[in-house]
């Protein structure tokens, strides 16, 4: 039975009621489609309230469990889910506030904010779900609104094309996930994640190939959303074609939800089945990092560069998942990087959205001299690019540092651990190539003119928040790391080794 006062239930009620309320207000309103600011403010209020509830529940001293492995219900009220909820809510707040400026000249505002809220509920419930049925419902609640949001510029064929690609791959990925869940259910006779993992670890030898098939299908299904390399082909097109604020939601939100599901299912399930198969994740991580960075080097449009860079970042995060069974802080490091990446990538995409609103500029060439024309946007964009590259003392540095540290640490138990760290460091250097190139274009080269443009207010506010986050949690990273290690049980390795 679900407790109505548990965090996921409360957050769902808050966000869900507001998401349904906004279209009702719009339908009752006489001048339809003119209240962008009101809806943006309402959505922001709901998301902020949800964020307060989640943070209050962590620190209210109720001793929430870290990652409740043994939960038999459909959702578990644990710190792991709360950690992801905080990341998703911060991203949704940044998207909603920046849409205040971005959606000003567009139509159908009520549907837009309502769909963003529904998608956030889906993402949050993925972090909390401990049952395959719940996971599937949450996964679709996250995905279906984003298909519609990606096609939101109805008059623009590019937005539509982005959405078709996203929809076809997204529908395929959910079919694959249902297939994997079906196989696991057939093998173990339960839809509870923990029970099925226990069942998988006690399989007969002749059924183990089916178990591995299920885990492979899970990697493929979640990998589509995470943007892992053999499944990444839709990602650059969709991120560059969709409205830029929605690309933020996809890159920083739904991608992280894929990781939440992957940690709940694959990492723990794979370990139960056969620990040596984490090598697969390691190989995917190396390919993801390298192809993402090489792809970004050849692009000329800023949203496409950011899309490829988010593929590369998924590779770094995956290193932490691959070494999770061998290192005490592999998962902690991944969670820290997930939180940091959510803010850094949102800041970069929202800065690009600000440039698109003001100058209608997409390509790298048009970013010449941006440092003089839009100083705040350009400065935060530059800082977020440096943070993505992992330059100390910005927040992205600590995530990468800990991930590579965990990879080296795992070298005591497996031979390939340190090679992951080497590949990661080389890729960071490679990525600095195109990040520095953009910064050079913005500050060192002369643009069309040096006239200072008026920057959209709400986007400046979001960017200043992100700037504060990146610098404060870069210098003083302790609290975030503590929260990340609270979310992962310390005895995960023992649980696994004694299975």
């Amino acid at each position: 039975m679900i407790d109505i006062f548990s965090t996921p239930a409360l957050v769902t009620i808050i966000l869900g009621s507001v998401a349904l309320l906004i279209p009702i207000i719009d339908a009752l309103n006489k001048e339809r489609g003119t209240k962008n600011k009101v809806y943006s403010a309402i959505a922001f209020g709901a998301l902020a309230l949800a964020l307060v509830v989640v943070i209050y529940r962590i620190f209210s001293g109720e001793n929430l469990p870290a990652l409740s492995l043994t939960n038999t219900g459909v959702i578990a009220d644990d710190i792991f889910g709360a950690f992801f909820s905080i990341a998703f809510l911060i991203v949704s707040i940044m998207v909603t506030v920046s849409s205040w400026s971005y959606m000003k000249k567009k139509s159908n505002h009520a549907a837009y904010y309502s769909l963003i809220l529904l998608s956030s509920i889906g993402m949050i419930l993925i972090g909390y779900s401990t049952d395959f049925v719940m996971l599937l419902v949450a996964w679709e609640l996250m995905s279906i609104p984003t298909y519609a949001l990606a096609a939101f510029n109805k008059k623009d064929p590019i937005s539509n094309e982005a959405s078709i690609k996203y929809f076809l791959f997204g529908a395929l990925s959910s079919a694959i996930i249902i297939l994997a869940m079906g196989i696991v259910y057939g093998l173990t006779g339960t839809t509870n994640i923990y029970d099925s993992i226990v069942g998988m670890s006690q399989l007969n030898a002749d059924l183990i190939p089916f178990g591995l098939l299920a885990v492979g299908l899970f990697i493929a299904g979640f990998g589509f959303k995470m943007g892992l390399v053999p499944f990444h082909m839709w990602l650059p097109d969709t991120y560059s074609g969709a409205p830029t604020t929605i690309a933020t939601l996809l890159a920083a939100g739904t991608k992280k939800a894929g990781f939440a599901a992957a940690i709940r299912v694959i990492v723990i399930g794979l370990i139960a089945l056969n620990v040596h198969w984490t090598f697969t994740l390691a190989i995917i991580a190396i390919f993801t990092m390298t192809l993402g960075n090489l792809g970004a080097l050849t692009q000329k449009s800023i949203p496409r560069i950011l899309a490829y860079s988010s593929i590369a970042q998924a590779g770094y995060i995956l290193i932490g998942l691959a070494v999770a069974p061998y290192s005490n802080y592999g998962l902690d490091a991944s969670l820290l990087q997930i939180m940091n990446h959510a803010v850094m990538k949102s800041a970069a995409f929202i800065a690009a959205a600000g440039v698109i609103i003001t100058l209608a500029a997409y390509t790298l060439e048009k970013y010449k001299g941006l440092g003089f024309r839009m100083p705040i946007t350009a400065f935060v964009f530059a800082i977020s690019l440096l943070a993505l590259a992992g330059v100390p003392p910005l927040s992205g540095f600590w995530g990468k540092y800990l991930i590579f540290g965990a990879a080296i640490d795992s070298g005591q138990m497996i031979w390939w651990g340190p090679y992951l760290a080497i590949a990661g460091v080389l890729n960071s250097a490679l990525s600095l190539g195109y990040y520095a190139w953009i910064i050079r274009k913005m500050y060192m080269e002369e643009g069309e003119n040096r006239v200072r443009q008026k920057e959209p207010k709400s986007i400046v506010a979001v960017l200043l928040f992100a700037l504060g986050f990146m610098i404060i949690f870069g210098i003083w990273y302790g609290p975030l790391l503590d929260l990340a290690s609270m979310a992962v049980p310390n005895d995960l390795i023992h649980l696994i080794s004694t299975k």
């Binding site: 395959f132 049925v133 599937l136 419902v137 679709e140 995905s143 279906i144 298909y147 519609a148 096609a151 109805k154 064929p157 590019i158 539509n160 094309e161 982005a162 959405s163 078709i164 690609k165 929809f167 076809l168 529908a171 395929l172 959910s174 079919a175 694959i176 249902i178 297939l179 869940m181 079906g182 259910y185 057939g186 006779g189 339960t190 839809t191 097109d237 560059s240 074609g241 692009q299 000329k300 449009s301 496409r304």
Partner: protein
């Protein structure tokens, strides 16, 4: 009499047809059909497992799965109708504005 495994074979055949359609066809509607075939093959397999085990969870799962696929296809068809207005065609090889 029909054995439960017969239904599993049918599920595998349906799924193969779905995968064939995904790989070969380039019409957006046919792609949606193919994805739906895969999902429905899984639904059939889930019901069969639920009968074989026996446990009712699989059948509940299928109800959720059917409802969700319906919602998904509704959104997808909407997107394809908008695409048809732009191109007067639903062949996905026509959609290549986004190649750089």
């Amino acid at each position: 009499m029909n054995q439960p495994t017969d239904f599993l074979y049918i599920a595998v055949i349906l799924m193969s047809i779905g995968i064939y359609g995904l790989v070969v066809k380039r019409n957006a509607l046919r792609l949606i059909f193919s994805i739906e075939l895969i999902a429905n093959a899984v639904n059939l397999a889930l019901i069969t497992f639920s009968r074989m085990l026996p446990s009712p969870q699989g059948q509940v799962f299928v109800l959720f799965s059917i409802a969700i696929s319906a919602a998904e296809v509704a959104v997808g068809l909407g997107i394809i109708i908008i695409a048809y207005r732009f191109y007067k065609d639903i062949d996905i090889t026509e959609y290549k504005n986004l190649k750089n």
